[in-house]
Structure formats: structure tokens, C-alpha cells
């Protein structure tokens, strides 16, 4: 039962991803081609420089025409628009994003995919750590709030939730930097590690040192929502009949709360937590930029500044893939936790 569900969800995700890539390719076709034609011009010009200088102007011109036509054919620019879109989309689906115009990978390569794939683990490192801490803190606080619902702690922490609700994470990052980096000089101002990076144990400590401030910022903003949510869901469940029934059976309160209540609360909490996580993907883009954390988000910054369209497109595709992957993962986890899905319906 569950396996069928899993496979179904994964296939669904892949199909949606493909559709989106097609839509993106159509939408941004014109821009991509602009970049392409510009680069072709450059390449041909470069070739022209290394030509035999004894050729006549007509010969040179003819050569340019020929080379351009060749390149156009190579990049399918001579085919009708819809064919071009399909070709580009299929490329994107196979993670073949072409070459960057300006940006280079750390090894100096121009392949967009290489550039992007270097950034992925850094983004994942930062955000997974923050999310992990947020979930634990959120669950703990939410449970405490639900137990003493309506009390002082509950009310004050709810105010905290409201305060950070509309607060930009990147702005808080700016403030944190202004305070902790320039006023009280505890943390470095950004980046992955110091230059040059230390070796051995010191490398990891240095990494943690650099991660500390961004993670701290993300946690300060992030865990309130989870606490608020957990509190509401758990409170709702505590009103249910089966909780009263469990108490009537003499089950101690601890087991009722952590066992019956939390376990039933797990699916909706996990859903909401992951959803809000995915929703925050956007703000995190800027966030990385503020801290110069060389992940996918920061790559958007650089690509926009340098106007490197292929990198921008590739990044968007990968971000979308990760996003959809996250949604599918969410479905799978939810299905696992909720026996109504895991085991299926009535016999």
C-alpha cells in the first residue's frame, strides 16, 4: 500500500517538474537566446582574430557568415521556435544547462551545472542545520505552551510569534552582522571559511564559526512559528474523545501527552513544518547573499549582478527541482506517519 503511494508521489513530482521546465523554457526563451546570439558573435569575432590575415575582406565576411550559420545550426537557432523550446527544455531536464557567460566555478570551469552543483551542498548544510534546531526548539516550546495553554508563557511567546511573522530574515541578518560582527566583534562577516582555510580540526571549527551567525539568525526567526503551530495542533488533539478515553483507562498523563497526543499530532505538524520550510526558501536566497554564504541563494545574487543568464536559468531549474523534491519528501513522510495512509482503508 505504502509503496504504491510512494511511487505515485515520486512520479507525480517528476511529471510536474518536467511541465514546469517546459513552462520556464518557453517563458525565458527569448532571453536565453539573446545571451546565446551575443556569445556566438563573440566567439566568431574571437575566431576572426586568429585568422590568416592574407584573406580578402570578402573572404573574411563569407567566413564570418559561414561560422555564424554553423553555430546557429549547432544551437538549433535555425529551427522554428517550438522546436528550440523543446530542445532547451530537454537539455534542462538532463541537467545540461550550457555554459556560463561570466561566472566561473572554483576550478575555473564554465559549465553551469558544475557551478551550481558546488553550491548545493553548502546551501543544504546551512539550512538543514537551522531547520533541525528550529524543529526541536519548536516542538519543545509548542508542547510546553499546549500544556499551560492560556498561561503567561503561552501568551508572551505568542506575541513573539507575531513580532517575527513579517520580519525579513535577511534584514535580521543585517542587524546581527552590524552588531555581532562590527560592534561586538565575535563572528566573521561572512563566507564559508577564513582565507586561507585552516586544516584538520581547525577547519571544522572555522566552518562552525562562520555558520554560527547565519544559523542563529535563522533560528531566532524560525522556531516561533513551529511552536505556535505545535501548540495549536496539540491543543486541538487534546480536546478529542480518544484522549479522554485514554485518561479514563488510567494511562498516565505523560504517556497520554507524549504518546497518544504527540504521535497523532505528528503528521499535521510535520506537514506544516515542512511547508513553512519550503515557503522560506525564497527569503533564504537573499539571506545567503547577506552573509556571502556561497550557496545557491548567493549564486542568484552573483548571477543577477553579472547578468549571467544561463546560470540564472540553471539555478532556477535546480531550485525548482529541490523544491519539488521537498514537497514529495513531505508527502512520503506524512504518508509514513499517518497509518490511515500507510496501511490504507477499511478491509
Amino acid at each position: 500500500m505504502y509503496w504504491k503511494y510512494c511511487v505515485g508521489r515520486i512520479l507525480n513530482g517528476i511529471v510536474i517538474y518536467a511541465i514546469l521546465i517546459f513552462i520556464f523554457s518557453t517563458l525565458f526563451n527569448a532571453t536565453m537566446e539573446q545571451t546565446l546570439t551575443a556569445r556566438i558573435e563573440e566567439e566568431v569575432r574571437a575566431e576572426m582574430m586568429s585568422l590568416d590575415t592574407r584573406m580578402t575582406p570578402e573572404e573574411v565576411n563569407r567566413y564570418i557568415m559561414e561560422r555564424k550559420a554553423d553555430k546557429y545550426r549547432l544551437y538549433r537557432l535555425d529551427k522554428p521556435t517550438w522546436k528550440r523550446i523543446i530542445w532547451r527544455a530537454t537539455n534542462a531536464l538532463t541537467f545540461n544547462f550550457g555554459r556560463a557567460t561570466i561566472i566561473r566555478s572554483s576550478a575555473g570551469e564554465t559549465d553551469v551545472w558544475t557551478i551550481i552543483s558546488e553550491c548545493i551542498p553548502r546551501t543544504i548544510l546551512l539550512f538543514t542545520t537551522a531547520i533541525f534546531i528550529n524543529i526541536i526548539l519548536g516542538l519543545w516550546l509548542g508542547l510546553k505552551k499546549a500544556q499551560r495553554a492560556g498561561g503567561l508563557m503561552d501568551k508572551t511567546t505568542s506575541i513573539g510569534t507575531m513580532i517575527v511573522y513579517g520580519m525579513p530574515s535577511w534584514w535580521l541578518g543585517m542587524i546581527m552582522i552590524m552588531f555581532f560582527v562590527y560592534t561586538v566583534k565575535i563572528f566573521p562577516s561572512g563566507g564559508l571559511h577564513s582565507m586561507p582555510p585552516p586544516v584538520g580540526w581547525a577547519y571544522y571549527i572555522d566552518l562552525l564559526h562562520h555558520m554560527a551567525l547565519p544559523v542563529l539568525t535563522l533560528v531566532v526567526i524560525g522556531f516561533w512559528g513551529g511552536a505556535f503551530l505545535t501548540r495549536n495542533i496539540v491543543l486541538g488533539i487534546l480536546q478529542e474523545d480518544y484522549i479522554m478515553a485514554a485518561r479514563a483507562r488510567g494511562i498516565p498523563e505523560r504517556k497520554v501527552l507524549y504518546g497518544h497526543a504527540m504521535r497523532t499530532a505528528a503528521p499535521p505538524i510535520v506537514t506544516m513544518a515542512l511547508l513553512s520550510l519550503l515557503a522560506s526558501v525564497g527569503g533564504n536566497i537573499i539571506f545567503e547573499g547577506i552573509f556571502s554564504w556561497p550557496g545557491l541563494g548567493n549564486l542568484y545574487w552573483i548571477a543577477i549582478e553579472q547578468n549571467d543568464v544561463p546560470v540564472l536559468m540553471g539555478n532556477l531549474s535546480i531550485t525548482t527541482a529541490l523544491y519539488i523534491g521537498g514537497l514529495v519528501l513531505l508527502d512520503l513522510i506524512y504518508g509514513f506517519l499517518d497509518p490511515r495512509i500507510k496501511v490504507g482503508g477499511k478491509r
Partner: protein, 324 residues
């Protein structure tokens, strides 16, 4: 005194809400004999469920037991702490089959886990033996062994109700309280469950409190009846005394009986009781039924009638009652 399994004296339960204090259960007294099935009937909101929740000291806030005593096996349980209730009383001395079994089982645990948890919480026996006990009782209620691996949502309403009944019984408590156990089920399953309860009653010698608003069911299952209205008991009597109807019974009980259509009578109109149940924050003065009573006298609005024994084991709280 001590041949009563349960004795309730002048029990008072109030709900302290923002809008006012609700006088939900107003000084009621009744008792339960060994091996007897006592039925409690009444309209929705008359206090039946609150009363039995009170018996388990599980009245939900803002409700509180504000007076009286509940003697289980001769000992008053009201002063007991929550911990003592949990360990010694709940499920051990008295268990409960809840209203709406639809939602009484935790959806994320298997039947086995939930039943096992309950047993192991009260009895120090090892898994294998506990499992045997569980399967035994499941069979008793007519369910097969492989139910234990299922989750609640996989079972039908009737099956869930049986599981709940089995769970209520397997610690062999002295009293089993059934709060409208068949209300949420369809008629066929209802009949099955009622037959099951009757069988178990006989087989295990249970003392049962059975709540329902359906008089027909009550007639089948109960030996004695308690009729409640607006937080007060208006009549107590045996099956024959109340259903027999020769002697005068409380006007409310009469109306209840009349509004149940009979199979063998020709009825032109369904009779009903005009009006609605009263607001218990400010209940009517004197007899709480007097605004809706067709036999109301002047005295009824001034003084609340006491429960008087008009014949052996037959008590009525009405100024119009006549001694036999």
C-alpha cells in the same frame, strides 16, 4: 449499605463558565446493586453524561464536583487524588464505554498497542499472558484474533464498539458504565451490541450503569431506571414500575413514554413534549419541569419536590404523586 456496589449521595457538579455557573448536576442520589443494570435516561443536556464522568472524577474543566459523596465499595472516592484515581479506581474499579466509539480509539496506535498499554498499566503481567487475555476478551465480544494488528480506521463502527467493550471488561472492574454505546451505530449493529451486552452481563455477573436517551433500548437492558431532567432525578423505579405505567409516574416520564411510538398501536399524531430544556445557569424555580408540565400546580413553581418513595423501590419527585 455495603451491598451496594455504588452509592451516590447528594452529588453536585457545577460548570464555572464566563457566562455564569451552570448547575449541571443538582444533588442527585442513587445506588447500584451487585449484578444489576441501572439505566439512566433523559434528554440531551439533562446531566447524565456529567454524572457518570463525575463517577470517574473526569469532569472536564471548567466543571467541578462541588458536593456530595460517591461511595465505591463503601469508600468515598471524591477526596482521592488524581494519582490514586488513576491507579486504583479508573478501569480497576470502574470502567467506561464511551459515547461515540468512533473517536475513542487513538488513530495512530494499533488495537493491540492500546489494549496492551491499558493492561500493563494496571497489572504487572508479562506480554504473552497479557496478549492471551486480550485475545480472550476479543473473542468474548465476537472479534477474531487478527483485529489486534489493525488500526482503528480499518474497523467498522460496530467492531470498534466491541473493542471498546472488550477493553472496558478485561480488567474485570466492579462497575461498567456504558454511555450511549449504541447511539452512533445503525440499527442492525445496535441490536447486535445490545445482545452482546446482555450476554456478557449474565456471563460475567456485571454491575452496569447504562445511559441512553432511547427508552426502547433501556427497556431491554436495564433492571431499574433513573429518569433525569435538568440536572435532577425525577423518578427511580424498576422496569415494570415505569413501563407498566399503572401507578402514577412523573409527568415527564409519562410524556417520554408517550412520545415513543409503539408498533402495535394506531397513532394519528406523534406526541411530544412542548418547550425546550431549561438553561441551567438560571434554572426554573421550584420543580424544574414545571414550565413544560401539563399538570402543573401553583405549588410546583414555588417549591422543588423531594424524591419520595411511593411504593417499594419506586421513587418520584412530583407534587402530584399519589401514595399507593
Amino acid at each position: 449499605m455495603s451491598d451496594y456496589k455504588l452509592e451516590v449521595n447528594h452529588l453536585k457538579i457545577n460548570y464555572f463558565t464566563r457566562k455564569g455557573t451552570v448547575d449541571a448536576v443538582s444533588e442527585i442520589s442513587f445506588n447500584l446493586k451487585e449484578g444489576e443494570t441501572l439505566g439512566i435516561v433523559g434528554e440531551s443536556g439533562c446531566g447524565k453524561t456529567t454524572t457518570v464522568l463525575g463517577l470517574m472524577k473526569m469532569v472536564s474543566p471548567p466543571g467541578k464536583i462541588t458536593g456530595g459523596e460517591i461511595l465505591l465499595g463503601g469508600k468515598d472516592i471524591i477526596p482521592l487524588s488524581e494519582n490514586e484515581m488513576r491507579k486504583k479506581v479508573r478501569w480497576v474499579k470502574a470502567s467506561m464505554v464511551f459515547q461515540g466509539a468512533m473517536n475513542c480509539l487513538t488513530p495512530v496506535y494499533t488495537i493491540e498497542k492500546q489494549m496492551m498499554e491499558t493492561i500493563q498499566e494496571h497489572k504487572n503481567i508479562e506480554r504473552l499472558q497479557a496478549k492471551k487475555c486480550i485475545i480472550n476478551y476479543l473473542n468474548l465480544v465476537g472479534l477474531s484474533e487478527d483485529i489486534i494488528r489493525r488500526y482503528p480506521h480499518e474497523l467498522s463502527g460496530g467492531m470498534k464498539q466491541r473493542v471498546v467493550i472488550a477493553t472496558a471488561l478485561f480488567l474485570e472492574p466492579e462497575i461498567v458504565i456504558c454511555d450511549e454505546p449504541t447511539t452512533a451505530l445503525d440499527v442492525v449493529v445496535q441490536a447486535q451490541i445490545i445482545n452482546l451486552i446482555k450476554r456478557l452481563k449474565k456471563k460475567l455477573g456485571l454491575s452496569v450503569i447504562f445511559i441512553t436517551h432511547d427508552l426502547a433500548t433501556e427497556a431491554e437492558v436495564a433492571d431499574r431506571l433513573v429518569v433525569m431532567y435538568a440536572g435532577k432525578i425525577v423518578e427511580i423505579g424498576t422496569n415494570e414500575q415505569i413501563y407498566g405505567g399503572k401507578n402514577s409516574v412523573h409527568p415527564y416520564t409519562q410524556k417520554l413514554l408517550m412520545s415513543t411510538p409503539r408498533l402495535h398501536e394506531k397513532i394519528k399524531e406523534l406526541s411530544f413534549i412542548p418547550g425546550t430544556p431549561p438553561d441551567l445557569i438560571a434554572p426554573p424555580s421550584g420543580c424544574r419541569f414545571h414550565p413544560r408540565c401539563t399538570e402543573v400546580m401553583e405549588r410546583c413553581s414555588k417549591e422543588g419536590p423531594p424524591l419520595i418513595e411511593i411504593e417499594n423501590e419506586h421513587w418520584v419527585a412530583c407534587w402530584r404523586n399519589r401514595y399507593v
